[in-house]
């Protein structure tokens, strides 16, 4: 059995997820096709075997969340928290993603072809996010590690209270958050952007991107700052 199909109009979501968790690793299933997702929450969460899941339609909250080894492709849009807390593997949204995409991700690659909502990559702890469109306000808030490539624009307070994550933005930035600053693109940055665009299957000139990283002035308490940053 190499390929399985689940029509969520006929089959409860729990059957799909329990198949992915219990049966797929044992039976060596390589591909699972999900039809009529109809906005259901928690589709293909917590994948722990190298399975390729295709979702045809719009997914609800937390699709592909906690992914470890799987590949999840959503041929539609994704609701709040797509690929949240992903550890490794790959999640690809062909449409747009709602708020909190890739929240708290530790590893892996999240690709969003369309726009992402607010707080994309909030508390990013590792891994990579590539957004073909624009991201909403407060994206990469307190992002600790990992990389984000934004091919469109960024909303307000991009990278507020950034730690060591690095952001690359091709379009305009409405405003930077506290302690985030634009830095010059080095050779290593150009190579990183090219590598991530290639991985996402997107074609842009890496030279068109700006680098946003932490000024690290919030790392130490400054009693003279008087709460103004």
């Amino acid at each position: 059995m190499e390929r399985m199909s689940f029509d969520l109009a006929q089959t409860p979501l729990r059957e799909l997820n329990s198949f992915l968790h219990r049966d797929a690793p044992v039976k060596g299933v390589q591909k699972v096709v999900v039809t009529n997702p109809d906005g259901a929450h928690n589709i293909a969460v917590g994948l722990d075997c190298p399975v390729d899941v295709e979702v045809h339609g719009h997914a609800g909250y937390y699709a592909g969340g906690m992914n470890k080894t799987g590949t999840v492709t959503i041929f539609g849009s994704a609701g709040t928290g797509v690929a949240e807390n992903m550890m490794s593997g790959r999640v690809h949204v062909k449409g747009f993603a709602s708020n909190g995409a890739g929240a708290s991700m530790h590893g892996g690659l999240l690709v969003i072809d369309g726009d992402a909502g607010l707080r994309c990559g909030i508390s990013l702890k590792g891994g990579d996010i590539v957004v073909g469109g624009s991201v909403g306000s407060f994206s990469a808030f307190m992002a600790q590690a990992g990389r984000m490539v934004i091919c469109g624009d960024a909303g307000d307070a991009l990278g507020d209270s950034l730690y060591e994550a690095v952001l690359y933005v091709r379009g305009s930035i409405k405003s930077l958050g506290a302690d985030a600053r634009i830095e010059p693109m080095g050779e290593a940055d150009l190579a990183t952007v090219k590598e991530l665009l290639d991985a996402a299957g997107m074609q842009h000139n890496p030279k068109d991107f700006k680098r946003v990283a932490s000024a690290r002035s919030l790392y130490h308490w400054n009693a003279d700052a008087d709460q103004e940053y």
């Binding site: 109809d38 906005g39 609800g60 709040t80 449409g95 747009f96 709602s98 909502g117 607010l118 909403g136």
Partner: protein, 302 residues
């Protein structure tokens, strides 16, 4: 948490099917709002001098056994009004060629526990406690006809679970609002409105937003200006969906804390908190689906 739904049909031929298309949308939001549900439907407007008043008797002692026929006789006897009353258990729509204020005053004096749900030339309003499926069956929502409607499923956080605190809220005529979220300054807004003679019926935060926006419209603002003032005056988390006699309008707070998704085809515009309430709609696979941006106004004409 709460669920909001809205539906506007673009073709007159679809108007008789408005309720039937909406009921699965409302039921789809049960997990977001299992304790109460309601909707306001906008129909072909009555003549200039006529009004309809939606009434709810569930908080009277008689409940669903309220004597609606008797109410009609009393209105004739006391005010000389020939009213048509269409009742369904604890709900009735009173239609007459009247100035509504004296009738509403009379109802409040004579039947203080009879709750006035809405007034206008186009709006009919229903709301009650119970699951969305129970409320939809209780009032036969699937048979409703009209050009557009606004619906809500409630999971109460800011005030008690009672029929009058369910949504939609209404103020003035042919205006209603549903809310997903919670306001942080409803008492400030109330204190600002009360000196203008605006009275509140509940302690619910949404009622403050509803009465604020209706007050702006009554003061002469168009819908867009009223909503702009709403962005400035109302603080907290909100996705608001509003209905007027000929429009649906949607706004989200600047942090987009509460969800919304829109699907549009040549036949309809449908709005819901989540896509799962839109998934059953006809031709949804070819609809334009998008997430409305924070602090933007979306207005659709019926």
């Amino acid at each position: 948490m709460c669920g909001i739904v809205g539906l506007l049909v673009k073709k007159p031929a679809l108007r008789p099917r408005l309720g039937e298309l909406m009921v699965p949308m409302l039921i789809g939001m049960t997990e977001r709002g299992p304790d109460s549900a309601g909707l306001a439907v906008f129909t072909e407007p009555l003549a200039e001098n006529a009004r309809k008043i939606s009434l709810y008797s569930g908080m009277c002692e008689e409940g669903a056994d309220f004597n609606w026929l008797g109410l009609g006789h009393e209105l004739k006897e006391h005010l000389g009004i020939d009213a048509m009353i269409t009742s369904q258990g604890n709900h009735a729509i009173l239609t007459a060629a009247i100035a509504p204020e004296p009738v509403k005053r009379w109802i409040k004096e004579r039947h203080p526990k009879l709750h006035i749900l809405s007034t206008g030339r186009a709006i009919d309003l229903y709301k009650d406690i119970g699951t969305p499926a129970e409320v939809a069956t209780r009032y036969a929502f699937s048979g409703l006809a009209g050009s557009h409607l606004v619906g809500h499923t409630r999971m109460a956080t800011e005030s008690a679970v009672t029929p009058d605190r369910a949504h939609p809220f209404t103020a003035g005529e042919d205006f209603c609002l549903v809310h997903n979220g919670s306001l942080s300054n409803p008492y400030g807004v109330r204190r600002m409105l009360e000196p203008h003679g605006i009275r509140f019926e509940t302690d619910n935060d949404t009622e403050a937003a509803c009465r604020f926006l209706e007050w702006r419209l009554r003061e002469g603002d168009d819908l867009e200006s009223a909503l702009q003032k709403g962005f400035e005056a109302l603080d907290g988390f909100y996705t608001f969906l509003m209905g007027t006699a000929d429009k649906l309008a949607l706004i989200r707070d600047p942090f987009a804390c509460k969800p919304a998704v829109v699907a549009e085809t040549d036949d309809y515009v449908a709005i819901a908190s989540e896509f799962r309430s839109l998934a059953h709609l006809p031709d949804i696979k070819h609809a334009t689906v998008f997430e409305p941006a924070p602090e933007e106004m979306y207005v659709w004409n019926a």
